[in-house]
Amino acid sequence: MTDYAELSTREAYGRFLVELGKENSDIVVLDADLSRSTMTKYFAQAFPERFIECGLAEQNMIGIAAGLAASGKIPFVSTFAVFAACRCFDQVRVSVAQPRLNVKIVATHGGITVGEDGASHHAIEDLALYCALPSFTVIVPADAIETIKAVAVAAATEGPFYIRLGRPKFPAIYTDDYRFEIGKAVTLREGQDATIIACGLMVSKALEAAANLAAQGVKCRVLNMSTLKPLDEASILKASAETRGIVVAEEHLLDGGLGSRVAQVVAREKPVPIEFIGLKIYAKSGKPEELLQKHGLTASAIEQAVKAVMSKNP
C-alpha cells in the first residue's frame, strides 16, 4: 500500500493514476516529454499501450486528448502548469471547453514554488485562465491525499477538469478517510473573528497563521477552497455574514484567481473588508521558501492581513 500522505502532490498523482488505470481501461494518459517530472512515468510503465507520448507539442497533445475523449476515452493530460495553461489555451478553449469534452488536465509545477527554474516556469496565471473557461471545473488540492481524492472524482465525473499540483511536497492536511466533494469548501478551523480562505500550498500557511493568531486571542476560521470553479458561494457568504473580514491566500497572481472570485461573491451579496495574499509581479529564481518569503506568501503576512481586515470592521 502506498502511503500517499508522505508524498508530493505530483508523486501521489503519478502513483494513483496506476490504480485508476487498473480499475478503468478507458483511462489514457498523455504527456509532453515531462513524464519523469509530472510522474505519469508510473502509468507509462504499467500501461505502455495507454500512455501517449506527445513530445514537446502541447497544442497537439490537447487536440489528441479531445479526439480521444470524443471517442469515449478518459484522457489525463499532464505537463507543467505554465505550458498546460499558456502554451495551448486556444486548443483547450476550442477543442475541449466549448464542446465540453471529458478531458482531465492535471498540471504539475504550479506557482512559484517551482523555485530555481525562474519566471518562465512559474505558473501564476493558470487559475485565472482556466477559471475563465465556462465548462471547466478547477481544483487546487491542498495536499497529497486531497490530490488523489480529487483525481478520483475527476475521473468519475463527466466534463473537463483542470487540477493544479505543485513541485515540492506540501504539508499533510488530510488523512486517508477524507472525502473530497467538488465545489465544497472544507472548514479546517472554526472562528468568528475573521476568515482565511486559501487553496493549494497556502492552506498550510493559513493554518499556521490561524494557530499563531489564536495564541494572540484572535479566532480565525480557515476554509480550504480547493475547488475554485464552481465556487462554494454558500461558505463564502457564511463567512462574510459571521466573521468581520476575509483574507484570501493563493500562490497565484492577484488578478483573476481565487481572491478575485471570492471578492466577486462578497461584493455582490454581503460586502466585508477583504485582503488578498498573492503575487503582484513575476518572481525570479530562488529556493521555494525564499520566494514565498520575498513575495509575502507567508503565515506572518496572512496574520497581518487578518489584523488589517479586522481593524477595518471594528
Binding site: 489514457v28 499501450e49 495507454r50 501517449i52 506527445c54 513530445g55 507539442a57 497544442q59 497537439n60 497533445m61 490537447i62 487536440g63 489528441i64 486528448a65 479531445a66 479526439g67 480521444l68 475523449a69 470524443a70 471517442s71 469515449g72 476515452k73 484522457p75 486556444d90 486548443q91 478553449r93 476550442v94 477543442s95 466549448q98 464542446p99 465540453r100
Partner: protein, 269 residues
Amino acid sequence: MSVTELEEKAKQLRRHVVTMIATAGSGHPGGSLSAADIVTCLYFKVMRHDPKNPHWADRDRFILSKGHAAPILYAVLAECGYFSVEELKTLRKLGSRLQGHTDMTLTPGVEMSAGSLGQGLSFGIGVALAGRLDKRDYHVYVMLGDGECDEGQVWEAAMFAPHHKIDNLTAIIDHNGLQLDGSCCEIMSLAPLADKWRAFNWHTIEIDGHDINQILNALKEARETKGRPTVVIARTIKGKGVSFMENNVDFHGKAPTPAEAEEALRELA
C-alpha cells in the same frame, strides 16, 4: 453511385452552399465550393456511416478542420439525411443547430467543434488512436485548408502521426491556393507542400481535387496504406463552379448578394 451521379450530387451540394450563405447573409463560400467534390465522394461513396445512427461506434469519421467550410458539411449531412434540407436555411441564425463554425454538441453528424484553424488533425489523431485501442476498424478523414497549414499545430500533428504509425488516418488538404488576405504564395509560401509532408514521412498523394476518379482512387489507396498515415493533397479551385467566385479572394468570407446568388444558381443548374 456512379461518377456522373457523384458529379451531379456535388453540384447539388454547391447549390445548397450558395443558397445557405446568401440566406444567412454571411459566411465563406469559396472554401466550401472548393471542397464539394471531395466531400461528396467521402459521404456518398467512401465512408461507412449511418445517418440514422450518427454515434455508431464503428462509423468512419470525417473531421472538418477548416471549420469555416461548415456549409459544405451541413449540405452533405442534410443530403445524406442527418437532418432535413429545410434546416439548411437556418444557417448562422439565432437558435440554429447550424453554427457559423461547426459545433459537435449541436449538429448530428458533426464530429468536431472547429473554427480556430490548425486543430483538426490533432483531434483526428485522437479519434484514430481511440479506434486502434478499441480494435475498431474505422478510418478517420481530416480535411484541412492550405492556408490552415500556416498554423504550427498542423506540423506538430504531422510529426506525431507517422511516429506513432497511425494508418487509420487520412489528411486531405483542400489546396485551393487562396487564403483570406490573398494567395498562399503572397501570404505564406507553402511550396513545396507535398515534399514537406513526404519529409514528415506521410504517404503523399497529389491529385486534382475536382476529378471524381482521382479522388476515389486516392482515398482507396489511402485506406490500403499500412504503417503510416496518408495525406491527399488535392489541387482545387476556390469558389469552384461559380465563374465569378472562382479564384476570387473576395469570396473567401463574403456572402453573395441576392442577384449574385441567382446568377450562381443559374451556373450550377
